[in-house]
Amino acid sequence: MIGGWLAAFVLIAPMVSAGATTLAHATPRLQARLSLVGAFVLLAVSVALLVVVLRDGMVVLQSGNWAAPFGITFAVDNLGAVMTVIAAITGAACLTFGLGETGEAERRAWFHPLSHVLLVGVCGAFLTGDLFNLYVWFEVMLIASFGLMTVGGTKAQIDGAVKYVALNLVATLIFLLAIALIYGLTGTLNFADIARSVPAVSNVGLLTAAATLLMAAFGMKAAVFPLFFWLPAAYHTPLVSVSAVFAGLLTKVGVYALIRAFTLLFTHDPEWTHTLLLWVAGLTMVTGVLGAAAQSEMRRILSWHIISQIGYMVMGLALATPLGLIGSVFYLVHHIIVKANLFLIAGVAARLTGSMELKRIGGLYRSAPWLGVLFFIPAFSLAGFPPLSGFWAKLVLVRAALEIGSWWIAAAALVTGLLTIYSMTKIWAEAFWKPHPAGEAAARPLAEAPAAMLAPIAALAAGTVVIGLFAQPFYVVAEGAAQQLLDPASYIAAVLGGAR
């Protein structure tokens, strides 16, 4: 019972924060305080929800007490709860960072309210147990992200936003079309009810077509090959705190939706769907990392790396073995923290040196050596160096691939890791080692960055180290999540009960 309330509060908390920060928009200081309190309340509630889920098993909330499949169901398993906690951590870190970054003008332009609306959408997507409801949460998230993308209103932001908006609108309609087909075939939109009805559907071809449409829609959100072009066109333009939230969370909601759809709903034709996913995963990894190698702007490099890392997460799903899914879940957790942190560090580096463009900056190692340490942790975790978190995530995935003899995907994963080091070394050599082209004094010391920017970076880096050094408890949670994912019957039973 308490779990149901917590699940509801995970949605109510950011909604209230969004409302409160909207009302307080005329008093920036009060607004910032309300926003931070809201972010940490969300974090506390989501941690409590995770504790309850780990202790008592799945939490199911039938909104309005309408029994499933008639009402809207919220169903929280390990994966959903873990993702919510990570979303709350990212939200709290980036909102804190935003205090140091946003000026008066941007605050008036709804940075805080929109960020909380974004968190509502993200958390809703992680908790819901209903396909149409998932669509609604996606749209909440999307419209908030449109607004956040253009906070500041520079030319580059408008340009990036046009591409981001155009391609996401198409993805939205593809998603809706897939919903129509699935509803027509199964007569229901509740995840559990669809999962139960899928084996009885006679028109398997149409069902697979609907599943593939859904894959395209979620794949576009997740930025997989060949649907990722909106991401590197847009992610380097908004405020740093905004792009860090986007980098950490938005594409991962797509990955989450892919995992949910292709473990729970559509396992009827793995020959087609999961083979396709595996190819997509491999190509995503390789194109992403090669795209990064060609860039020379910090946030563009990192954006391309988001794409290549998405490949790893989809790879675990496509392998569809217990170890593969453990790897995917572990990778999601590790990646969100690391990626958001790298964007934040790029923001600080740009603040200290004056640009994101690698050719125009340098000298950070001399002026701000501790920033180098803070960069080193997530960068090498991203590349998969032991004993940081990325090493365990990659180890599990590669092992999962080798176990079922998918040699080429394992090879792609390892080569991608190697090329990731290349990009990270490039940022290191250009931004940190090389002297600043405008003279030594142009690189400012770390003390000139506001504490509000440095605190979240240090906290996220500490998180990366903790996941790396004490990987076992995180592995156990991921294992629990993977077990639940591979056992759709228990999800169906938890939502629909034994009655029907």
Partner: protein
């Protein structure tokens, strides 16, 4: 009734695809609006069309006897229309701002956020 609607959906989708292939941002958004209608109609058709009775339970009964129209697709389509309208409104304003700031609505001329072209 299904066949004319399905043909209409096909026609709308074709028109929308043609519009969206344009490099003009305004045509792309018009295409989005048309495609939205095609998708909404397909949700409507997916719920099976029934012309017998409205989905209203009589005062003295617990359920409706006989065939009745499926109310769920109407609720879904209504939601989708509202969301689509919101997105389209934002996108049109964005297009207007883009025209003001960037001086063009042609997507291939929007290169501010792209890396500078290599000099050859």
């Amino acid at each position: 009734m299904e066949l004319p609607l399905v043909l209409l959906i096909g026609l709308l989708t074709a028109v929308a695809t043609w519009l969206m292939l344009s490099r003009n941002l305004i045509r792309l958004l018009l295409g989005f609006a048309v495609l939205g209608n095609a998708v909404n109609l397909s949700i409507f058709v997916a719920g099976r069309l029934t012309r017998d009775a409205p989905p209203l339970v009589p005062l003295d009964a617990e359920t409706i006897a006989g065939a009745f129209a499926n109310p769920l697709p109407q609720a879904l389509v209504l939601t989708a229309i509202v969301i689509g309208f919101g997105l389209l409104a934002f996108a049109l304003v964005l297009a207007w701002v883009a025209y003001e700031r960037l001086g063009t609505v042609r997507t291939d001329e929007m290169r501010v956020a792209e890396p500078p072209e290599e000099k050859t």
